[in-house]
């Protein structure tokens, strides 16, 4: 598992775990960040917020927030 902040542009990853307080997790869950959902990383310059596509929307997450979203590569998941 790695954090969403470490995912590279174009990678498709699956959410495995959400860290942080309930305020944060329930807020992002409402926006579609639920366990098992597939996310595509659209932009990540290694600093500043990242932009991801999930479900039908695109969402920008601050670096601190991205660090709380733990993911695995979709390809690894399928290999298991």
């Amino acid at each position: 598992m790695k954090s969403l902040g470490d995912a590279k542009v174009g990678e498709r990853v699956i959410i495995k775990h959400l860290r942080g307080g309930k305020d944060f997790t329930s807020r992002v869950a409402a926006m579609g960040f639920t366990l098992g959902v597939v996310i595509t990383v659209l932009q990540n310059y290694g600093r500043g917020p990242v932009i991801v596509a999930l479900r039908d929307s695109r969402v920008a997450l601050g670096r601190g927030e991205a660090a709380k979203v733990l993911v695995v590569m979709e390809s690894d998941e399928q290999a298991d």
Binding site: A30, R47, G48, P49, R55, D56, S57, R58, V59, G64
Partner: protein, 665 residues
């Protein structure tokens, strides 16, 4: 707030952010809307009243929220309204390009005891992005009326309203599919419901309360703790075993949504590159994005100076001044205090209010346009790192930047910052952005005071203000807000064409609310300041204001400002920042020219005091128009006074430090 008559149909308009909800609201209500605040809250409330088919309709725009859990004030307001006010019907607006996420709010609304209809907006944008939606398939799956919309072109809005009225008038057959929670948690919910039996406050549906308890909703939890302490102990034990249930509930809602929309939606092939992808390559790029942002702002200021400023000057010189002169003549028979108060106090105050309008209009057009096309989210993305540092949000950047033109639209523009604390902090820091009024004073005085070094001094003063702004921001963030992290989670809407009507109504309502609310405060304050400069005997040199200035001389000496005339000049900048110059003109006696005045002022203050005077001028209390909009936007005088106090302290400390250091040089 309750239903007035039997014939009024109350419709609540719900939807997530970025679905075009306000466009729908504007199309339905036009100018028949009232913009205020939710009772006792600082959240904007828009209510429209109109007649449709001889039926009186009251349309209440709920705050745009992603869900109905008590995470934010907006979410509480939205659900409290639905549960306690019981509108006749809810219109749920969704965005065709983002149906899956938008339906999350729908899953929460479907379990509330109010019937609803669904509008799928931006069908044209969806089509342009290769998304096709069969609304009748959706309607059949959900068991509710679903209307396709292109609200920006006024397509489908009328049909949606008819559908809502039809449902409101025949509520009994309303029996939609309701989202199912996973089996395991459904069992827990049933148990909670059994324990709750009869112990839920009136109006609250017991199954809804049970779900919210399982979701760990703070407001509902508190309500049950208070209402049913015995039952709560049992429920609490049950909840402890299912602490992570809320994530499963969110997942099960999304699974349900997936099943509902699967047959109705056709998405583009994966990997298709959209216009938004292409534009974002530039707009959200760390370098090009910043460059674009700077370019846009340069354009805004160019427009302000080329279009708004000439109109402001024209209003002042060709309308207000002759009007004042004419009024003075007309009132020449009346006592001097009367014509003075009316003309120099009230008419001049009203004049000030109107001269703001051209600047406000230009700024609001730009803000409305940037928001409407979807660029606002990108500007926030680009500036977020810088803003976060001060406890602000990326969205704070735009209003703050507008402050360079005028602090008034900057304070009003802070509405786009959703996080309450970040928004309040944005408002508090805005007066430290030097507006054109403050800059006019220093550019007028600096050449006479500092000669060749004037440009260097002016630049340093602006830099100094920004430094103070950062220090203040970081300090408030650390000390008052205890470093509370402002989460940056923001949807990036697809770009789309701007809608003239949406933008015009945005400009119209913002300008009107300034004139209505801030306007009257400004006129009253202007009258008071005039009275202070006139009483007791009609001469400013011996007026109450002058006495106040003299009384403050000991304090002024700390900053090298031992001359009461300088203090009074600062005090009158409360009316309008540029007033400092006019007051100096009056107090330093008649001079033949403006240059003469600056030299005359320069002759009475030496370098350290001159520098301190300009520093104080740049950080002194905001003008009364800014104070009035701070009250208007925060809904409390408290914050306006906090801000006055804050800037008073900042200007005193800065002035003193600068003077004491400059003296040593």
């Amino acid at each position: 707030m309750s239903r007035q008559t039997k014939h009024t149909i109350t419709i609540a308009l719900a939807g997530q952010p970025n679905v075009g909800k306000s466009t729908v609201f504007n199309m339905l209500t036009g100018l028949n809307q009232h913009v205020g605040n939710w009772p006792g809250k600082t959240v904007e409330q828009k209510v429209g009243e109109f007649i449709h088919d001889e039926k009186k309709i009251r349309l209440v725009d709920l705050p745009g929220t992603y869900s109905l859990t008590a995470n934010s004030l907006e979410e509480r307001i939205a659900r409290d309204f639905i549960i306690t006010e019981r509108p006749d019907v809810i219109i749920v607006i969704t965005n065709a390009t983002d149906l899956e996420c938008n339906f999350y709010l729908l899953t929460e609304l479907l379990v509330l005891p109010v019937p609803l209809v669904v509008g799928i907006n931006m069908m044209d944008v969806a089509e342009a992005n290769g998304i096709r939606i069969e609304t009748h398939v959706l309607a059949a799956a959900l068991g509710v009326l679903v209307e396709p919309l292109i609200a920006s072109k006024n397509q489908g809005v009328h049909e949606l309203l008819e559908a809502a009225i039809q449902v409101a008038e025949n509520p009994t057959p309303f029996d939609p599919k309701r989202p199912k929670i996973g089996v395991e948690h459904q069992r827990v919910i049933n148990e909670i419901q059994t324990i709750l039996n009869g112990q839920v406050p009136q109006l609250y549906p017991v199954d809804w309360v049970a779900i919210k308890l399982l979701e760990g909703d703070s407001q509902v939890t508190e309500m049950i703790q208070k209402n049913d302490p015995e039952g709560w102990d049992k429920i609490h034990a049950l909840l402890l075993e299912h602490e992570d249930a809320y994530l499963d509930i969110a997942s099960s809602r999304y699974e349900w949504i997936g099943r509902m929309i699967r047959a109705a939606i056709e998405r583009p092939k994966v990997g298709a590159i959209t216009i938004t992808d292409r534009l974002d390559k530039v707009a959200t790029h760390p370098f090009w994005g910043s460059l674009l942002l700077i370019g846009i702002f340069a354009l805004v200021f160019f427009l302000t100076y080329r279009i708004a400023m000439p109109i402001v000057d024209w209003l002042g010189l060709d309308i207000i001044a002759p009007l004042s002169g004419w009024m003075k003549q007309l009132l020449s028979a009346t006592p001097a205090w009367f014509s003075g108060l009316l003309v120099d106090g009230i008419i001049n105050g009203a004049g000030t209010v109107f001269t703001f309008v051209p600047i406000l209009v230009v700024f609001f057009i730009v803000m409305g346009l940037l928001e409407d096309i979807g660029y606002m989210a990108r500007s926030a993305y680009v500036t977020d790192r810088l803003m976060h540092w001060m406890g602000l949000h990326g969205r704070s950047f735009l209003p703050l930047f507008l402050g360079f033109g005028c602090n008034v639209p900057a304070v009003m523009g802070s509405r786009i910052v959703e996080n309450r604390r970040a928004r309040l902090l944005t408002i508090m820091l805005t007066p430290l952005i030097p507006c054109t009024g403050r800059l006019a004073v220093i550019t007028f005085l600096a050449p006479a005071l500092f000669g060749k070094a004037a440009v260097l001094v002016i630049t340093s003063l602006v830099a100094f203000n920004l430094l103070i702004l950062m220090i203040t921001g970081i300090t408030i963030h650390r000390l008052v807000y205890k470093d509370e992290h402002v989460a940056f989670i923001m949807e990036m809407p697809l770009y789309h064409r701007p809608n003239l009507r949406t933008i015009s109504l945005f400009v119209w309502h913002n300008t009107l609310s300034f004139l209505r609310k801030a306007g009257s405060i400004i006129v009253i304050m202007s009258a008071f300041v005039w009275l202070f400069s006139w009483l007791p005997n009609g001469n400013i040199q011996t007026s109450l204001l002058a006495s106040l200035g003299r009384g403050l001389e000991p304090l002024g000496r700390w900053m090298g400002l031992g001359d009461w005339r300088l203090i009074v000049a600062l005090l009158t900048s409360f009316v309008a920042k540029e007033n400092t110059i006019a007051t100096l003109g009056i107090l330093f006696g008649p001079t033949s020219s403006a240059i003469g005045l600056a030299t005359q002022v320069a002759s009475v203050i030496a370098f350290p005091a001159a520098l301190a005077f300009l520093v104080v001028q740049m950080t002194f209390i905001p003008c009364m128009a800014t104070v009035a909009v701070i009250k208007q936007e925060t809904g409390r005088w408290k914050y306006a006074f906090h801000n006055l106090g804050l800037l008073l302290v900042i200007s005193f400390i800065s002035g003193t430090i600068v003077y004491q250091i400059a003296r040593l040089l």
